[in-house]
C-alpha cells in the first residue's frame, strides 16, 4: 500500500512540475507524449508494487542470442 501511495505521490509531483507550463503554451502534442510516457511508467510501477509478474525484455535478448553465444563458447574454447 505504501509503495502504491509513493508512486502516486511521485507521479503527482512530476505532473505538477511539467504540465502547467505546457498547458499554458497549449503544446498539445508534447502533452500527449508526456502523458503516454508517464502512464506507461505508472502502470509498470503499480504492477511491480502489486507484485505482478512482468516479462523481462532482456530475457528475449537472451533467447535471441543464446544459440550464437553457445556456438562462440564452443568455437573459442
Amino acid at each position: 500500500m505504501l509503495s502504491i501511495m509513493g508512486i502516486l505521490v511521485i507521479v503527482t509531483v512530476i505532473i505538477a512540475i511539467d504540465v502547467p507550463p505546457l498547458w499554458r503554451k497549449k503544446l498539445k502534442k508534447e502533452l500527449w507524449a508526456f502523458s503516454i510516457l508517464l502512464l506507461f511508467g505508472t502502470v509498470l510501477g503499480l504492477a511491480q508494487a502489486l507484485k505482478l509478474k512482468i516479462p523481462n525484455p532482456l530475457d528475449w535478448v537472451i533467447a535471441v542470442y543464446k544459440p550464437l553465444s553457445d556456438m562462440v563458447d564452443i568455437w573459442l574454447k
Partner: protein
C-alpha cells in the same frame, strides 16, 4: 529544433573519452579476464584497434549527413514510414542501456559501500541528478565533463601510481597460455562496451562547432579512453592476478582497497570510487540525453525537456524488471550483451551506410 546549444570540438573529445571510460572501468576487467585470464591486456589492444575502426565507420556515417542527427538521418535514408519505425526501434537501445547503467550504479553501491541501503533509493537519487543534468542541456553537461576531467585524471593517476609498488610482473606470465582463442573471446566485451556504445554520438553531430574536425576528435577521444581502460586492466592483473580479477565483480574497487602507503595512507577506496561515479554519471547523462532528444525529434516535438521526468520515472521502474538479481545481470553482461551491442550498434550503422550507397548508385546511374 529541440536543441539550440553548440559544443566545441574540445568538449566533444572530452565527452567521447569520458563516455568510453564510462561504466566499462567498473565492470569490464572482470568480464574480459574471465575469458582471457592473464592475457586480457592483449584483448584490450585488439578491442582498441577494432573499436577505432568502428568509430571510423560511425564518423563516416555521421559525415554523410553532418546537419542531421542519427534519428533524422535514419528517416532520410530509409524513407519516411520505414525510417520512423526503424528509428523508434533504435531508440529502444539507449533506453535499455541507461536502465542497465542505473542498475550497475545501484548494485555497485549496495554491494560494496552501503550494504543496508535499498538499491532503489540509490537509483532514484542517481536518476534525479541525471535528469537534472539533462534538463540543463547539452552545453552544460559538456562543460561539466570539461570541469570533471582533471579530477578524473588525477584520481586515475593516484590509483595507478599508488599501486605500482604492489605490481608483480610474473602475474602476466605465461603469455598466450591457451592460444589466441580465449583472448579473442575476451576482446568481444572489450569491443562492445566501451567502443560500440559510442554510436549514440551520431545524435550530436549537428551540435558541434567545427564539422571538419569531428572525425579526429572522435578517434582521439576513443583512443584516450581506450588507453585508460587498458592501463586499468593491466594494473588489475599485475596487482590482483588474473583469477582474482575474474572472480571479483568490481576489480577496480578491489584495486582501490589495496592502496596502502606506509600504513597511514589507507582506506581511500571511497575517494577513488568517485572516479567511476563521475564517468558513469557522464555516460548515463549522455545516453539519457540522446534518448530524450531522439524521442523528441522522432515525434517532432518543440523540446525534449518535458520528456525527461516521465522517462526518468520509467527508467527507475524498469531497472528491477530488467535484472532480477546480480548473478543474472553479470551472466548477461559476459555472455549475451556483447552480441546484442554488435547487432544494434555496429551492424545497424553498417546497414545504413550500405543502404545509403545503394540508393545513391541508383540515383546517380540515370544521369551518367
Amino acid at each position: 529544433m529541440p536543441e539550440n546549444g553548440k559544443i566545441s570540438i574540445r568538449q566533444f573529445t572530452i565527452l567521447v573519452m569520458l563516455v568510453t571510460i564510462g561504466d566499462s572501468i567498473l565492470i569490464l576487467p572482470s568480464i574480459s579476464s574471465s575469458f582471457a585470464k592473464q592475457d586480457t591486456w592483449i584483448s584490450g589492444i585488439i578491442g582498441l584497434l577494432v573499436g577505432l575502426i568502428a568509430v571510423y565507420i560511425f564518423s563516416a556515417l555521421g559525415n554523410l549527413y553532418p546537419k542531421l542527427t542519427l534519428i533524422q538521418a535514419i528517416q532520410k535514408i530509409l524513407g519516411k514510414w520505414f525510417g520512423t519505425l526503424v528509428a523508434a526501434l533504435f531508440l529502444l537501445f539507449p533506453l535499455i542501456t541507461i536502465v542497465t547503467f542505473t542498475r550497475e550504479m545501484g548494485d555497485f553501491i549496495t554491494t560494496e559501500m552501503m550494504a543496508e541501503t535499498p538499491t532503489l533509493a540509490i537509483q532514484i537519487l542517481f536518476t534525479c541528478i541525471v535528469i537534472f543534468a539533462v534538463r540543463l542541456g547539452l552545453e552544460v553537461f559538456a562543460r561539466t565533463g570539461e570541469i570533471f576531467l582533471p579530477c578524473i585524471i588525477l584520481l586515475f593517476l593516484l590509483l595507478v601510481i599508488f599501486l605500482i609498488p604492489q605490481a608483480e610482473f610474473e602475474k602476466l606470465l605465461p603469455i598466450l597460455e591457451n592460444g589466441i582463442k580465449p583472448v579473442i573471446h575476451g576482446s568481444f566485451s572489450f569491443i562492445a562496451y566501451p567502443f560500440l556504445e559510442l554510436v549514440v554520438f551520431l545524435m550530436i553531430f549537428p551540435y558541434i562547432n567545427q564539422v571538419r574536425l569531428i572525425r579526429k576528435g572522435f578517434l582521439q577521444g576513443a583512443l584516450l579512453g581506450g588507453l585508460v581502460l587498458i592501463i586499468l586492466v593491466v594494473i588489475s592483473i599485475l596487482v590482483l592476478g588474473a583469477d582474482e580479477t575474474a572472480r571479483t565483480i568490481y576489480p577496480s574497487y578491489s584495486l582501490a582497497r589495496r592502496i596502502s602507503i606506509g600504513l597511514f595512507f589507507e582506506r581511500v577506496e571511497a575517494m577513488v570510487a568517485l572516479l567511476w561515479m563521475l564517468t558513469i554519471f557522464m555516460k548515463s547523462t549522455f545516453y539519457f540525453y540522446v534518448f530524450n532528444l531522439g524521442l523528441a525529434q522522432l515525434l517532432k516535438l518543440k523540446g525534449y525537456r518535458m520528456l525527461t521526468l516521465p522517462t526518468g520515472f520509467l527508467i527507475i521502474v524498469l531497472s528491477p524488471i530488467i535484472s532480477p538479481n546480480i548473478t543474472y545481470y553479470n551472466n548477461l553482461l559476459a555472455e549475451y550483451l556483447p552480441y546484442y551491442d554488435v547487432t544494434c550498434y555496429l551492424l545497424f550503422p553498417v546497414f545504413l551506410l550500405v543502404i545509403h550507397f545503394i540508393k545513391n548508385r541508383f540515383k546517380s546511374s540515370p544521369d551518367t
